[in-house]
């Protein structure tokens, strides 16, 4: 399987290659190889997996199929799997019913800016927590980690007033900045940077590099897989988020994709043949990112599990 190859090779330091941690655990090859060719057990497993896969695909298929049916077909007594004819005009009708392209634009702005900000400050802080010893380090790190368990809703009321005070209601800043410090991202960054050999940092320091220069010239080039994971995750978090935009945004022109979706359902004039195309449009960007960068998604999820 091709995907076992790491994206960045670390020829210079093969024995301390930090990408290894990720590579091994996401290896596509089954570890246990059976010498017998195709056994009964494998056949049973294969059939079971096919059945399971069918169940998993069904909702996606149902969304796509509904997106292309006519409203009459959808509301007829006979539930059909495939549309009688492909009605692509559903997408145009749906975009007429809600300014969804604007929502997608908002979500793209928020997600992309949030990625830039979050990845930068998480890597910076992750580096500090991993490679410096300073007073209060453990306390501050634990404080940050403890917020992993806190749902947005607990802090919702005070945050609403803080945002109001900052005049950040209905603004991109309100959608981006408060959520930029991601506990999970910081945790991932620290774990990953811990594996970078101290000798690299020391060597740069002896050469007279400033602390920030060490970060940009030594650390950043060595954590490209981490950055990839963080970029993809932050994009997914911000793109998929509903609770926070619900607090920050009240004006229709500032709606994000998820807000738009959540609101569309409550409207009486809108049909399922319009809701499903919008849902499909909302999923396509994140699904494309996933299909192209699947390896990083899985690395991130699995990598976070290796904490103990």
């Amino acid at each position: 399987m091709k995907s076992t190859a790491t994206p960045i090779s670390h020829e210079e330091h093969p024995e301390t290659n930090p990408t290894r941690n990720f590579r091994n655990i996401t290896s596509m090859q089954p570890k246990r190889r059976r010498k017998r060719s195709f056994t009964v057990k494998q056949t049973v497993a294969f059939i079971a997996l096919c059945f399971m896969a069918l169940l998993f695909i069904m909702p996606f298929f149902w969304m796509l199929s509904t997106s292309l049916k006519s409203p009459e077909e959808v509301s007829s007594k006979n539930v059909t799997l495939f549309p009688e004819e492909l009605r692509w005009s559903n997408f145009i009708d749906a975009l007429d019913a809600a300014p969804f392209l604007g929502y997608i634009g908002n979500s793209l702005i928020v997600s992309i800016l949030a990625v830039a900000l979050t990845v930068f400050i998480n890597c910076l802080a992750g580096y500090a927590f991993a490679k410096y010893s300073f007073k209060g380090r453990n306390f501050l790190f634990l404080m940050v980690l403890s917020t992993l368990m806190i749902p947005v809703q607990i802090t919702m009321v005070p945050n609403f007033f803080i945002l109001k005070e900052l005049d950040w209601i209905n603004s991109y800043a309100g959608l981006i900045v408060p959520r930029a410090a991601e506990a999970f991202g910081l945790f991932l960054a620290r774990q990953y940077i811990l594996n970078i050999p101290n000798s690299l940092i020391e060597a740069a320091r002896i050469d007279g590099a400033s602390e920030f220069k060490i970060f940009t010239k030594v650390i950043l080039p060595n954590i490209k897989p981490l950055i990839a994971v963080l970029v993809i995750f932050t994009f997914m978090w911000r793109w998929n988020e509903l609770a926070w935009p619900l607090i920050v945004v009240s004006e229709n022109s500032m709606y994000t994709v998820q807000l738009g979706l959540a609101m569309v359902k409550g409207e009486h004039y809108i049909e399922w043949t319009q809701i499903m195309p919008l849902t499909l449009l909302s999923i396509i960007p994140i699904l494309l990112v996933f299909l192209f960068f699947q390896r990083y998604f899985i690395q991130g999820f699995v990598g976070s599990g290796m904490k103990e």
Partner: protein, 294 residues
């Protein structure tokens, strides 16, 4: 200026880390820690949409204890978590075991199982609301092939929560599966070879080798899924908004409802405070389990 620069240069190793963590820590402080403390403070006040907060002592908490909806929503949160955590872990493990062998189309299977994990809860909520439609939805149609009659999923106080749980399984099994797959691949082959020599069957190998060896993975998955279960909001907000009645109202959604729909900031903060304490106790238990384990 020169002296300052010189001073920084000399002490940069001591100062730099504070500068590096400053953006993160400040954001946490302003948008997490201070709001939590502020939530405690507001919970002792009567505060509507208009007007200033009025100190009322423990009245919000007294009201909370006799608030049936609060207890229902707490019960629903536990119901949801207690159902989704073991089920998604078990199906995830089953899928991982099936996948952890030489099998055709293996990467494709993994992609299919994992794909729902990246889908937003809002989108998933809409797709499954439509799947569960009692007249035109696919779910009842499939059930009818097996001779099961039509169920009014999301409009029934009995079946709305199971419907949300089924949706959650679709969203979360892939996550558990991928983590378990990594856990399974870390189990040394030699253990299975030794068991083969002793004539152990697959069932024995699963209970005696696989399950004990992947226990840290299981603990991790349970912790992650419990966090997920206690925080569930988007899915319920889109699928039922807590209804019918209060049959799917969970705590976080009740907080949102009280604060932003009914405008009772003080009472919402009291619920938030109690929920925060519950989470702290839960975290302490999980830390204890995690420590015993390692």
């Amino acid at each position: 200026m020169y002296f300052m620069k010189n001073w920084y240069k000399k002490n940069s190793i001591a100062i730099a880390p504070y500068i590096f963590i400053a953006p993160n820590v400040l954001l946490f402080l302003i948008f997490m820690i201070i709001p939590i403390i502020f939530t405690f403070y507001i919970s002792f006040h009567d505060w509507g949409i208009l007007g200033a907060p009025v100190f009322i002592g423990f009245q919000n908490f007294v009201k909370l204890f006799s608030d049936k909806v609060f207890w229902t929503s707490l019960g629903n949160t536990v119901y949801y978590t207690a159902a989704t955590v073991p089920l998604s872990a078990a199906f995830g493990l089953l899928g991982a075991i099936l996948l952890n062998r030489k099998i055709p189309l293996r990467p494709i299977f993994r992609t299919i199982f994992f794909a729902p994990v990246v889908v937003s809860m809002t989108a998933a909520g809409l797709i499954w609301t439509w799947m569960f439609n009692p007249h035109y939805g696919l779910f009842n149609e499939i059930l009818s092939y097996f001779g099961i009659g039509s169920v009014d999923w999301l409009t029934s106080t009995t079946w709305a929560m199971p419907a949300i749980i089924i949706t959650t399984l679709w969203l979360r099994i892939g996550y558990c599966l991928v983590i378990y797959l990594a856990g399974l691949q870390a189990v040394p082959d030699s253990l299975y070879e030794a068991a083969d020599m002793d004539g152990a069957n697959d069932w024995q190998k699963f209970w005696r080798i696989t399950l004990p060896m992947i226990k840290p993975t299981t603990v991790f998955i349970i912790v992650m899924e419990v966090i997920h279960g206690f925080m569930v909001f988007d899915l319920i907000y889109t699928m039922t908004n807590g209804g019918p009645g209060f049959s799917t109202t969970v705590i976080v959604q009740y907080i949102y409802q009280k604060a932003f729909v009914e405008g009772d900031m003080g009472y919402a903060s009291a619920i938030g405070t109690v929920f925060f304490l519950i989470i702290m106790v839960l975290t302490a238990i999980q830390l204890r389990i995690g420590r015993d384990d390692s």
